[in-house]
Every structure is written in structure tokens, then in C-alpha cells.
């Protein structure tokens, strides 16, 4: 099930795979509740909402509101925050390292997500960030396992 830019999805369906394709400067967040067997993914585009409301179709557009919105699903489902397994991937500079100095959206997205997770008292279990290649993030709802692959390398577990 694709999770497009600014979107988020949660699922308990063991047949389902949540996928965020081609994360360039975008960052994908996955959350797994091993007790409630709930999996969730958000696809973040920008670091800060600055008070702007994300549109109804893109609740995960901004890092801060994305973390809040994704977590809300888990809290409402009865998840215990400290048992959540949270991972993030992406935040690269696919327009070249020369442009990375000028544009730091990838870095800023990652930092904004880390900051919001800290605000909620949640630790990040693992991350794969930066670089110059786009990443596709896949989450298998049955196991909660996440994998990252690029255009030129096969999937590795995150």
C-alpha cells in the first residue's frame, strides 16, 4: 500500500506492506507496536508547519504534525508509548552534494522529526539518513519489520 507524500497509514492487516517510494529529501517514519500488532508509516515533506494546518489530504506534510498525527492513531488504539519501535529513513540530498549546502531540507526534516519524538518522550530505534540517493521504505505489517532499498542496491533491514 503506497504511502504518498504527506500521507500516513496505519494497519493491522498481516497481508499488507506499507511503502514510501523514492524518499529524496522526504523522510519516512515507521512505528510498530509489538503488543498491539499495529504498524504505521508517515511520509514527511517539510520540517516545520509554522502553525500552518496541513491539508486534510496530507496530514503528514510537516514533520511536527506528522509525528503527532501518526502517534495519535497508536495512542487511541491503546499503545504504550515507551514500547513503540520507531524508525526513520530518507532525508538525503538527491539534487547533488553541491546543492546540499544550499538546500538542507533533508537534514532539517530528520532533525525536526527527532525533535518531535523527543518532545513525546519516544526514542528512535534506528535510522538511515542523508546521502545522495533516494530510498524506498517498506514496512511489513505482519512482522513490523522495515526495509530500505535504493535504485542501485537491494533491500536491507532497518
Amino acid at each position: 500500500m503506497p504511502v504518498g507524500i504527506g500521507r500516513l497509514a496505519v494497519s493491522r492487516d498481516p497481508a499488507e506492506v506499507l511503502v514510501a517510494y523514492g524518499l529524496g529529501s522526504c523522510v519516512g517514519i515507521t512505528i510498530f507496536d509489538p503488543e498491539g500488532r499495529l504498524s504505521g508509516m508517515a511520509h514527511v515533506l517539510l520540517p516545520a508547519s509554522d502553525g500552518r494546518a496541513p491539508g486534510p489530504r496530507e496530514p503528514a506534510r510537516f514533520a511536527d504534525s506528522a509525528v503527532d498525527a501518526l502517534l495519535k492513531h497508536f495512542i487511541e488504539a491503546g499503545s504504550v508509548k515507551r514500547r513503540l519501535i520507531v524508525k526513520i529513513a530518507g532525508g538525503g540530498s538527491v539534487l547533488g552534494s553541491a546543492n546540499a549546502q544550499k538546500f538542507k531540507i533533508g537534514e532539517r526534516n530528520a532533525e525536526a522529526i527527532r525533535e518531535r519524538l523527543r518532545h513525546h518522550g519516544i526514542s528512535l530505534v534506528n535510522s538511515e539518513l542523508g546521502g545522495v540517493k533516494g530510498r524506498t521504505l517498506e514496512m511489513y505489517v505482519a512482522s513490523g519489520k522495515t526495509f530500505v532499498r535504493t535504485a542501485t542496491s537491494p533491500a536491507t533491514e532497518l
Partner: protein
């Protein structure tokens, strides 16, 4: 004056045609092969439209990216599905089709140079027509999933969800033709300067 999408497209189509003519002359001169460039379709599109035009969000594409600075700031990207990129290199070099089979340094360099010529020709045509001062940057090669490249432009440029200008660009010589997609994304604060294009 209200800049409607139709008038913007009409004006940008004329700019694109002028840019294509200039770029065709430049490439012909550079490569010693008679190459024509057509721009049959100029339209506004979303990031998904831009990816669909090159084979889908996860399609691996080869192209290059450059920035515009000056009176208008923004981004230009020329993207090809891999097969089309290889065809384009053969066309530029006057080689039989399917001579170029891999993406190596020479392929990347050729596509980078092509983007330099096509992108700069478009930017200069825009500058001349609107009486603006514009500077295209040197190109950066891009070889990645289409959505990763397109969304990075969106993230850097657009604070609101918006459209980019998509220009189908056809490259043709006596033996055949191939096509890529030229994406033009002006920074929103400078977009109003493009209104000066409209008579």
C-alpha cells in the same frame, strides 16, 4: 493583470519553442550531427504527473538538474526514462541505436551537457522575451527514482502544493527520435515576474 494558467502556458510555449530552436542549433554545432528539438506539449502538472510522464514514481530515470538565479529564481530538470536516455546519447553522437547500453561516465556527461544546453537555452529565451536577467547554474547529474528527484524540487521550492511546468522535449535526427521531460519550477516569490511575458 491576472495571469491565468492558459496565458502562462501560451507564453511559456513560445519561450519553449524559441529555446528548442536555439538548443537544437547549439547541439548540432557541438556534436556535428544535425539534431532538431521539438516541444510538442507544454502543460502544468503535479509532482505525480511529472513522474507519470517518465514512467512512474519508482521508475529509475537519468537526467540533470540546474538552478536559475537572477530576476527569477527556480529549478530546471531534464529527465529521461533510462532507455530514452541511452537513445538520446546515441542520437547526439550519431551512433546506431542500441550502441549505448550502460550508464557510465560518458553517458552521464552527455546527458549533463544536453541539460546544460537545453536548460540554458530555455532560460535565456525566457530572459530575452521577458526582459529579465537570468543565470542558469552548471548542471548536476541525477540518476535515481523519479519521485525522489521531483519531490526534492517540491520540498525546496514550494511551500504550498503546486504545479510545475512540464515540457515534452523531442530530440530528432535523420534516423530517429527520442524524448525526455523538461520540468521548470519557478520559486513562488518570483513567479509574478513571469507575468511580464504576457503581452
Amino acid at each position: 493583470m491576472t495571469l491565468t494558467a492558459d496565458r502562462l502556458i501560451e507564453s511559456l510555449s513560445e519561450v519553449a519553442r524559441e529555446g528548442a530552436t536555439r538548443a537544437g542549433r547549439a547541439i548540432t554545432g557541438l556534436m556535428g550531427q544535425r539534431i532538431l528539438i521539438h516541444v510538442p506539449n507544454v502543460r502544468l502538472g503535479t509532482k505525480v504527473d511529472a513522474c507519470d510522464a517518465v514512467g512512474g514514481e519508482e521508475a529509475i530515470v537519468l537526467g540533470a538538474y540546474l538552478t536559475i538565479s537572477g530576476d527569477i529564481t527556480g529549478h530546471v530538470m531534464l529527465l529521461f526514462p533510462i532507455e530514452r536516455a541511452l537513445e538520446c546519447v546515441d542520437l547526439m553522437c550519431g551512433q546506431p541505436p542500441r550502441t549505448t547500453r550502460d550508464i557510465d561516465e560518458i553517458t552521464e556527461s552527455a546527458i549533463g551537457e544536453l541539460t546544460n544546453i537545453v536548460g540554458s537555452a530555455f532560460v535565456n529565451a525566457l530572459a530575452d522575451r521577458a526582459g529579465l536577467t537570468l543565470h542558469p547554474s552548471p548542471p548536476t547529474i541525477c540518476h535515481d527514482m523519479a519521485i525522489a528527484l521531483v519531490e526534492s524540487i517540491y520540498a525546496e521550492v514550494l511551500s504550498q502544493d503546486g504545479d510545475v511546468v512540464m515540457i515534452d522535449t523531442v530530440f530528432e535526427d535523420q534516423k530517429g527520435r527520442t524524448a525526455g521531460l523538461l520540468i521548470v519550477a519557478p520559486d513562488p516569490p518570483t513567479l509574478h515576474r513571469i507575468a511580464e511575458l504576457v503581452p
